[in-house]
């Protein structure tokens, strides 16, 4: 019999293994040598600035980059780098300065503002900025009436152009000065080019022509966004001509990426344990900044027993140990206890809950209230505490476990922890199927009003399903936004005192902002504005 002609399997397999090995080695060698950047120039006299910086993040753009519709953190932040409004925040401060506005006057009844705008600003296609463009943009936002439109819609009654360089704004009410400026500084109010902007929402991968240091280079939804410098920007050129923002699915893969140099900066959100580890053991730099996006709190539905009883809520406020949470979960460094829904650094902030309940748990006081409310060891308060595991921090289950422990330390409460994914969670909240849950708040605009009205004003807190209605608080909130600053601070403090005593919502903590970057990256500014300004970033080429 002639021997069979089948190639020996052994040979085939060996060949396959060898081929894979060869490819692997080759890849490794070539990869190591291939610099991910453009080929380095001949040894320069002064260090060259890198042409591209890569930022890694676990956030992603949830909907569009149209300023009239975008509402998620990353989308808004990118728009903040591609556009500008009449006012903007000065980096490293909480101060609002002129951006596209040059000067403004306020009428004596505080209902009309006349704002002079820059004459040297141009859109990306060279069209000059005019007052008409500003008015047109605001009209577009209000007409399209998307999610954040109310920010402008509730502020402005009417706007008109007076000549080419002045915008006259008629407010709906005589709002306080910084309040108006902070709203006009939001992305929703950014002027867009009337010549090229359609009267409908611009979908990915597109955006609008705005006035800012960067413009959109390319966008692959779910994977990356590339920004390139805008040559027609009137102001200072961005320090780095190209920025790539790469999306990561979880904190672990982001950490690995910044460790092995795949990204230059990791911003939002690495786990506290990883940041601490990198701070202590690696050459990467960790930059910290005050954080308010989000602030975290516990909320009750006051229509549900037993949380309709103020004493129960106050007892819980006495039992909560914020410091334990901050020290354990956030390793003492990465978050701060929060004693008021108005965060530290904002107008009128006071540590109302600390003054009322102390910063350490007071079990005796809590027990007294609970017993008064009718609970005992044999008849404990049985409650469910709800949380959502992924949206805010991966440590959420741990935080819930700690809170349960803290509440049960009273001996009179039995806590059952429950969780649901974000979509279910929100639905349960809206359908009022839960009575006590953890939540977070990202500010719409940076003014104390945004930390008070949506929670405590009975005309504005329906979305929260807290059912808190205190006429005095309503009145005070309506007043503070119209008062001059000094008086406003006092009113805000009064509000915080009342709501600390009523405790329909218990503020818990605010996390700091943290950026982890390669050692040669400079210009990372993390301030109260919560805006990560890509145009300040730069890094020197290494070697």
């Amino acid at each position: 019999m002639a021997p069979m002609k089948n190639p020996s399997t052994k040979v085939l397999i060996a060949a396959a293994v060898a081929a894979i090995a060869v490819i692997a080695i080759a890849a490794f060698m070539i990869f190591r040598q291939t610099s991910p950047e453009t080929p380095p120039a001949a040894p320069p006299a002064a260090p060259k600035i890198k042409e591209v910086l890569i930022i890694g993040t676990t956030d992603s753009v949830q909907s569009t980059l149209d300023p009239c519709e975008a509402y998620d953190y990353l989308g808004v932040n990118i728009i903040q780098n591609m556009g500008e409004g009449l006012f903007k925040y000065k980096p490293e401060t909480a101060e609002l300065v002129n951006a596209l506005a040059v000067s403004y006057t306020i009428s004596s009844d505080r209902m009309v503002w006349e704002i002079k705008i820059r004459t040297d600003a141009k859109f990306q296609d060279g069209t000059p900025l005019t007052a008409q463009a500003v008015v047109w943009s605001w009209n577009r936002t209000i007409t399209l009436n998307q999610d954040p439109a109310f920010l402008i819609g509730d502020l402005i009654e009417k706007a008109e152009a007076v000549g080419d360089d002045t915008v006259r704004v008629y407010l709906k009410a005589p709002f306080e000065e910084t309040y108006v400026k902070s709203l006009l500084a939001t992305w929703v109010a950014f002027p867009v080019n009337p010549k090229t902007s359609p009267m409908e929402v611009v979908e990915p991968p597109g955006t609008l022509d705005m006035i800012g240091p960067y413009k959109l280079g390319s966008w692959k939804p779910g994977e990356y966004i590339e920004l390139v410098e805008n040559p027609n920007y009137y102001g200072e050129k961005p320090k780095t001509p190209r920025i790539i923002i790469r999306f990561y699915k979880d904190a672990q893969s982001l950490r690995l990426a910044v460790e092995n140099g795949e990204v230059d900066i990791a911003f939002r959100t690495l786990s506290p344990a990883d940041i601490k580890d990198l701070m202590e053991k690696s050459t990467l730099q960790v930059v910290a900044g005050p954080g308010i996006a989000p602030i975290r709190y516990m909320v009750f539905n006051l229509n549900k027993e037993p949380f309709n009883d103020k004493r129960v809520r106050q007892a819980i406020a006495y039992l909560i140990d914020r410091e334990q949470i901050v020290n354990t979960v956030f390793m003492g460094k990465f978050a701060q206890p929060l004693y008021s829904m108005v965060p530290i650094g904002f107008l009128g902030h006071k540590d109302a809950f600390k003054e009322r309940y102390g910063s350490k748990p007071d079990i005796e006081a809590a027990r007294k209230l609970l017993i008064e409310a009718g609970f005992s060891e044999t008849n404990p308060l049985r409650m469910e505490l709800w949380y959502t595991p992924v949206r805010y921090t991966p440590a959420e289950p741990d935080i819930a476990a700690l809170l349960k422990q803290q509440l049960e330390a009273s001996g009179l409460i039995k806590v059952e922890l429950k969780s649901a994914d974000w979509a279910t969670y929100r639905t349960l909240m809206r359908e009022e199927k839960i009575a006590c849950w953890l939540l977070g708040w990202y500010p719409d605009f940076l003014d104390s009003d945004n930390y008070v009205r949506p929670f405590y004003h009975s005309g504005a807190n329906a979305w929260l399903r807290v059912h808190y209605a205190n006429p005095e608080v309503d009145r005070l909130i309506d007043e503070q936004v119209l008062q001059p600053t000094e008086q406003r601070i006092q009113t805000l403090e009064r509000i915080q005192d009342i709501v600390a005593d009523d405790a329909p919502i218990i503020p818990l903590w605010q996390e700091g902002q943290f950026a982890v970057a390669q050692p040669n990256v400079k210009g990372i500014v993390l301030d109260y504005s919560q805006i990560f300004r890509y145009f300040l970033l730069y890094a020197e080429e290494q070697g």
Partner: protein, 293 residues
């Protein structure tokens, strides 16, 4: 009694030992370690002490005059990892057991019916089962888990649904091939009722296959449960659970706190291994291959 000989026999012994050990752990483990697994507060003489978090394995701590040794360290909330490992068996193994049982029973029943009765029922059921099989398993489990919420029964159901088609297909295949076998035909001719044919002739031939599939199914269920907790759907804290702790451990692994996840992970590997060994060895012993003379 003689010593086990050869791979199959050793495998069976080892596998059974592992499975029994874990079954015991699942049943009584929790009682042995008490509160240490769910809280970092130790009460000695009426005073409460807090155990610090992230202690490495082998740490010793003097609390209220007694010395406590944390042989597997403490987790990120200060809870004893050893205690969590011991009591963590219950949830995982219960879920694995329940889901395997549910999918095996349902799949087998449906497969028997479908294969034996045939006709439209068979075609319709096959279609549905093929579609479910084509559905990415983990996604199906995720969706069902998101729907039902957490808890032993719900998670077991979610996982069971994914594996029903496997049992269905296998059983149906056996039934189909047996339906035309001579001894079955003989029984039909002799006037035996369908029920007795199925139970006396077909079922016995199906059972070895089911038994062979059970351990793999069990192993899959454990892994799927770990996967579900990885994605945030699992149990409520502070209930200890290997899958949950494995996932937690992953978040701390890179920072150097390897023990939080490594020990639960080891438990998962060993328990899965135990079942696989039992399954494989049984298979080899019950269906011996011809050996060279």
């Amino acid at each position: 009694m003689r010593l086990p000989k050869g791979f199959a026999e050793w495998g069976l012994v080892l596998g059974t030992a592992l499975v029994t050990a874990f079954a015991l752990l699942a049943l009584v483990g929790e009682f042995l370690v008490g509160r240490l697994a769910v809280s970092n507060i130790i009460h000695v003489d009426g005073k409460a002490y807090e155990v610090p978090p992230l202690l490495p394995p082998g740490s010793k701590l003097a609390i209220g005059g007694r010395e406590y040794v944390f042989i597997m360290g403490t987790d990120q909330l200060g809870r004893d990892v050893f205690a969590r490992v011991v009591s963590g068996a219950r949830f995982v193994l219960t879920v694995a057991f329940l889901s395997t049982a549910i999918s095996a029973v349902l799949g087998t029943v449906l497969g028997l019916l479908s294969g034996y009765i045939g006709g439209f029922l068979d075609r319709a059921l096959s279609l549905v089962m093929d579609s479910m099989y084509a559905f990415p398993g983990l996604i199906l489990a995720i969706a069902v888990a998101a729907l039902l919420g957490v808890g032993v029964l719900n998670i077991s159901l979610a996982i069971a649904i994914v594996y029903i088609p496997s049992y269905y297909r296998m059983v149906r295949g056996v039934v189909l091939s047996l339906k035309s076998a001579p001894f079955v035909e003989a029984a039909v001719v002799a006037g035996a009722s369908s029920l007795s044919i199925v139970t006396r002739h077909i079922l016995p031939n199906v059972i070895p296959q089911i038994v062979a599939l059970l351990p793999v199914s069990f192993a899959d269920a454990i892994i799927t449960e770990a996967g579900l907790t990885f994605l945030g759907l699992g149990i409520e804290p502070p209930t200890p659970d290997w899958g949950f702790d494995l996932n937690k451990g992953r978040q701390f692994f890179l920072a150097g706190y390897w023990w939080i996840g490594a020990f639960p992970g080891l438990m998962i590997i060993l328990s899965v291994l135990g079942f696989l060994l039992v399954g494989e060895s049984l298979n080899e012993l019950l269906n011996p291959r011809k050996v060279e003379a």
